[in-house]
């Protein structure tokens, strides 16, 4: 395209030229992607900030994201997100194939590959919804203390125990406060399945249960209040029975699952960042699917066939690959590192 450079200033700056060898639309798509990438960088850097700030008490991802469809109760970390990553990379591949077919002006092939891309995107968004469902529902439940830390429960082997396995049912009269019962028109957040008294009584009745704190166990010489045999390096600290009972005196909330205020996995920021970053990414995937669908319809209607070039497919393709690119980083920073 270098040959199109003319000496008249008018032509150079009035859009008649392609300074970077890319059309206006494609170049602007690149710069939009650049700015969007910087937005995600900001989010991930903020996530890194909080993680560095609470380096010794951040939840361990493998313990949080360990579900796989139809494999209930099994501890399978990583596999599900790896599958999601593969689905997204594969939908990227079908997108490139669509762009490639567009270069050869093969209308039906473009439509077919774009259709596959849309399906891949929908499967990914669905998988993310399933991941969120598990995250919000939680599995084991925990107790929040006065200071805002989360304490979890383990058995004699250091394995997590669900609240319902040991909590007692006490005759209680605490009922959900609803809007219609109050003088003022407010309602409270839904009550957890167990009251603090039920969990504490259940804990006292089962001498085999211990408390696991948010703190990472790093100092091998520190034995005060720490269970003598269960602790492994770079795992959450497990307390002795006496220390566990003492910690339970500070209990203020029963936490099951996750919301924007507290979560059973540990640090409050963890759930907020998870919801925000994967949510923002999921929204990108969703909008990518919508845009892909519009372009898919245009392909079918023959718009680009009449225009005699499929560059529009290439432009939405860039956006779609960008979504994949961001996921590669989210995958690393939320699940691997």
């Amino acid at each position: 395209m270098g040959a199109t450079v003319t000496t008249t200033e008018e032509k150079i700056w009035n859009g008649g030229n392609e300074p970077m060898g890319a059309s206006y639309g494609k170049m602007m798509m690149w710069f939009f992607i650049l700015s969007d990438a910087l937005t995600f960088t900001g989010f991930l850097a903020a996530y890194g900030f909080s993680r560095f700030k609470f380096a010794e008490s951040w939840p361990i991802a493998d313990e949080v994201f360990n579900h796989f469809p139809f494999m209930h109760g099994h501890d399978l970390p990583m596999l599900y997100v790896a599958l999601m990553t593969f689905i997204l990379i594969f939908s990227s591949v079908t997108m490139v194939l669509a762009v490639d077919a567009g270069h050869h002006m093969q209308k039906s092939k473009v439509a077919f590959y774009m259709f596959l891309t849309i399906i891949g995107g929908l499967i990914f968004v669905g998988s993310q919804a399933w991941e969120w469902k598990n995250f919000i529902k939680g599995e084991y439940g925990a107790i929040e203390t006065k200071g805002g830390s989360i304490i979890q429960f383990v058995d004699q082997d250091g394995k997590r125990i669900q609240l319902e396995k040991f909590a007692k049912t006490l005759p209680g009269d605490r009922v959900q406060h609803e809007r219609k019962n109050g003088i003022w028109f407010t309602k409270e957040a839904s009550l957890p399945g167990y009251s603090i008294a039920e969990v504490v009584e259940g804990f006292k009745a089962n001498p085999n249960i211990l408390v696991r704190t948010q703190q990472m166990y790093l100092d091998k010489n520190d034995k005060t209040g720490v269970h003598p045999t269960l602790n492994k390096e770079k795992h959450k600290t497990i307390l002795t029975r006496e220390e566990s009972l003492a910690r339970l005196n500070d209990a203020v909330h029963v936490v099951q699952g996750a919301n924007l205020v507290r979560n059973e996995y540990g640090n409050k920021q963890f759930a907020n960042f998870f919801f925000f970053i994967t949510g923002f990414h999921g929204f990108h995937v969703f909008s990518g699917v919508v845009i892909n669908f519009i372009i898919f319809l245009n392909v079918i209607l023959g718009t680009y066939e009449r225009r005699k070039n499929y560059e529009m497919v290439e432009k939405v393709g860039l956006y779609w690959h960008f979504v994949d690119l961001v996921w590669v980083f989210v995958f690393t920073f939320f699940y691997l590192v």
Binding site: G21, F54, L97, V99, L318, T332, V337
Partner: protein, 146 residues
């Protein structure tokens, strides 16, 4: 828009006959990289869980060495491998799926370098500050984690 595609990856060591073949080749490569990450993430080999070099202590020279060798002192090898593999994946997605390989170098540089500089800059500031606050919490007389 019949672009001329650059059909070689790995600095020309692996050449493909058509663009379509190159795409499948890159997919296989990315899948292998992801598989390596997943296997390492599940098994977490003990040898990779502690930093290779412990921080130098002493005067100015030690501080300087800590800075220069910081990836090997303050990051455990496992995480370092994850970071490198992530950047490798990002490179091949951008270069081959997004056709950055076939763009003019001016476009390539104005997008990639802008991002790299700003991303490194913001990451450096945020992470240093986070580490600093961690130290404040850890060494202060205020008990916060109770």
């Amino acid at each position: 828009m019949a672009h001329a595609h650059n059909l070689a990856i790995f600095r020309g060591r692996l050449k493909f006959k058509s663009n379509e073949q190159k795409i499948w080749g890159v997919l296989i490569f990315l899948s292998i990289v992801t598989a390596i990450e997943v296997v390492l993430g599940i098994y977490k080999p003990a040898a990779l869980m502690t930093a290779w070099i412990s921080p130098f202590e002493g005067g100015f020279g030690a501080t300087l060495m800590n800075m220069i060798l910081s990836p090997f002192i303050y990051i455990i090898p496992l995480n370092l491998i994850f970071l490198v593999l992530t950047i490798v994946k990002a490179y091949y997605i951008t270069w081959d799926f997004m056709h950055m390989r076939d763009e003019k170098s001016s476009l390539r540089r104005s997008v990639v370098w802008t991002f790299v500089f700003l991303a490194l800059y913001i990451a450096l500031i945020f992470l240093l500050e986070g580490g600093y606050i961690f130290d404040v919490y850890k060494s202060s007389i205020i008990k916060w984690n109770f």
